[in-house]
């Protein structure tokens, strides 16, 4: 079983190495796409195996847990690996249309694959220090991708992104070190019992708060999100799309993992803080978006607001709420990456991302308008798209707990999301172009046009499928939530592997 867990991590790095060794920019891009296809197949195999056999785990170099590094995939981890591979492939194809030869020769495609490898590693590891290492891998690749455009804005954005993310990393490292000092283990399954048995629970809660701040900074929660709107609108659109889809979600995943598996001793304190943080994140994100007038800046602020929903599900900690958070996570990655890709197509057609300087897309590019409407309405939570079910489950979960205020805020934020999406619609699509330009899709060469549109169409189709047939996805998320809230299976699988 070990190869099935190790290959999804190793493969992107092999692709990256091959891609970087190729001096030819065309070939390095082709290798990246081919590698992404194989990564997707591997991820499908992994999800299939996890659905058949439950939690699977393996020990690297046959060092038994809890001493060696464990790779483990439960329902949540496997789903995240699959979604990473899907977004990875979609963006790799889209990047063929955007990344020019000069950038490709700098090694863009290789660094991109390293990023995907780092993200996958973070989803599969069962060791908290190893998680730190994967965070670093994805962080350093994201730094590279961020500045490769070389525009002044990108350097400015990168300064804020790099510095704040480094602080978060140092905090995370310190928390992991202190946790090791207190409990003597780094294996996450082993930590669950070790933390629960520790005589000084106050100390454990203090360490938990350090993790919360470290991961919260990565996830972009209130009040730690300032690096995100400062940087996400500056790099290439392909980079924005993959960052928007995956990077903050790694932080959310880490929060979910740590606060369902390890730090569950003082939920009245930790999860109460998470609840307030979630509500503040939802509101500030959506209000920040309302004040923006740039396509990508609006979308960036909406990432923050949507992160709030996921943290909300975690904070409520009921099976239904955690299920909602997982479903939200998966739906959101698809929708958000897609919106950034659409923003890229729109930029290509109109030559700007400032909403007041563009327009006329509805008349000139009706196909793109339809493609924008699907993820935009899904983000706002219109039935029958995927976002409706995600919001529905979370609102229902809060009503079950008789938290009317929470449900009210969740609905209000959904309403305000429509405001921002309507703004993009009215400015970019509905009104005429200020300079009377007709930005038709036919103005792009057919090859570039289909490289750009096919990933967008594929992701939009996925949104519609999840919306129309939500049952299998909701069932999957329900099982994932059960595994998180009752992690005996997870713990036993990891530690039983140790005995063998």
């Amino acid at each position: 079983m070990s190869w099935l867990l190790a290959l999804p991590i190793l493969f992107p790095f092999c692709t990256a190495a091959l891609s970087l060794l190729t001096r030819n920019s065309r070939w390095s891009a082709r290798i990246s796409v081919a590698g992404s296809v194989i990564s997707l197949i591997l991820a499908c195999l992994l999800v299939g195996t996890v659905m058949r056999e439950g939690v699977i785990a393996t020990q690297m170099s046959t060092w038994a847990a809890p001493f060696g590094i464990t790779l483990v995939a439960d329902y949540l981890g496997a789903a995240m690996v699959l979604i990473t591979a899907i977004i990875g492939l979609a963006t790799a194809i889209w990047a063929l249309a955007e990344i020019d030869d000069d950038t490709a020769r700098m090694g863009w495609h290789g660094v991109y694959q390293t990023l995907l490898g780092g993200v996958t590693g973070a989803f599969l590891t069962g060791d908290i220090f190893n998680l730190y290492v994967w965070f670093e891998v994805l962080l350093i690749s994201s730094f590279g991708l961020l500045i490769m455009g070389g525009r002044k804005e990108a350097i400015d954005g990168a300064v804020k992104y790099v510095t704040l993310n480094l602080i978060s990393t140092v905090l995370f490292l310190c928390a992991a070190g202190l946790l090791y000092g207190a409990t003597g283990t780094l294996n996450m399954a082993d930590l669950r019992q070790a933390v629960a048995d520790h005589p000084d629970q106050g100390l454990m809660t203090a360490i938990a708060m350090m993790f919360m701040i470290g991961f919260g900074l990565k996830a972009g929660v209130f009040p730690l999100f300032f690096w995100l709107p400062a940087s996400y609108h500056t790099p290439h659109y392909a980079v924005s799309a993959v960052f928007a889809g995956l990077l903050t979600k790694v932080g959310v995943y880490a929060l979910i993992r740590v606060f369902t598996l390890i730090f569950v001793g003082d939920q009245g304190f930790t999860h109460q803080i998470l609840l307030w943080v979630a509500l503040a994140t939802m509101l500030t994100g959506v209000l920040g978006a309302a004040a923006q007038s740039d396509f990508r800046k609006i979308l960036s602020f909406h990432i923050i607001s949507q992160i709030g929903y996921m943290i909300l599900g975690l904070a409520l900690m009921t099976p239904l709420a955690v299920m909602g958070a997982i479903f939200y996570l998966i739906h959101h990655i698809i929708v958000k990456s897609n919106l950034f890709l659409i923003a890229g197509v729109s930029r290509r057609l109109t030559g700007s991302s400032d909403l007041y300087a563009i327009g006329g897309l509805y008349r000139a590019a009706p196909l793109l308008s339809v493609l924008f409407m699907i993820p935009a309405f899904s983000l706002a939570g219109f039935p029958p798209l995927s976002g409706f079910w995600a919001k529905y489950v979370l609102v229902q979960a809060s009503l079950e707990l008789e938290a009317a205020l929470v449900a009210g805020i969740a609905l209000l934020v959904g309403l305000l999301t429509i405001y921002s999406m309507t703004k993009i619609w009215a400015e970019a699509f509905w009104k005429g172009h200020p300079q009377g330009i007709e930005p038709a899709l036919a103005t792009i060469s057919p090859r570039i046009r289909w490289l750009m549109l096919s990933p967008v169409i594929a992701l939009a189709v996925m949104t519609v499928i999840i919306g129309l047939y939500p049952a299998p996805f909701l069932d999957y998320a329900t099982t994932a939530a059960q595994q998180l809230l009752e992690p005996t299976d997870y713990v036993q699988t990891v530690l039983r592997e140790a005995v063998k």
Binding site: F129, Y132, V133, E136, L139, I140, F143, I147, K152, E153, A154, I155, D156, G157, A158, V159, K160, V162, T163, L166, I167, T169, V170, L173, C174, G177, L178, Y180, G181, A182, P229, A230, S231, H233, T234
Partner: protein, 119 residues
């Protein structure tokens, strides 16, 4: 000895915060360097300081009679030092790039990505 290391770590954090709040990008980076070293020291002492007890097992893997040093924290912080070094090198290169682009390192004046509304 632990007390000394704890105080040293705390002092480094204090110095780091002071440097990082100064508003100059280069000072910020030096602060970050101090901060990561403070954390390295914290991890080092978290592994318990046991001088004079080598981390060696006896014959056929037998445990030693008395205390045995824990070498894992040192492996951890070695990893952390290497990673931190790489990130610091990148940040310095980014700083040079930022200086060439903006001709200053005052982070409050770096508003290119988020221009003021009325400017």
């Amino acid at each position: 000895m632990e007390t000394v290391l704890a105080l040293l770590s705390g002092f480094l954090v204090a110095a780091a915060v002071w440097l990082m709040l100064s508003g100059n990008l280069l000072r910020f980076l030096f602060g970050l360097l101090l901060l990561s070293n403070a954390v390295n020291i914290a991890i080092f002492s978290a592994g318990r300081l046991t001088p004079g007890t080598p981390p060696f097992l006896g014959d056929k893997g037998a445990l030693p009679d008395a205390v045995m040093a824990n070498s894992l924290p040192q492996a951890l912080l070695l990893t952390a030092i290497v990673i931190g070094f790489g990130l610091f090198a990148f940040s310095l290169a980014l700083t040079i790039r930022a200086y060439r682009s903006f001709h200053h390192l005052d982070v409050d004046q770096m508003r290119l990505a988020e221009p003021k509304e009325d400017a």
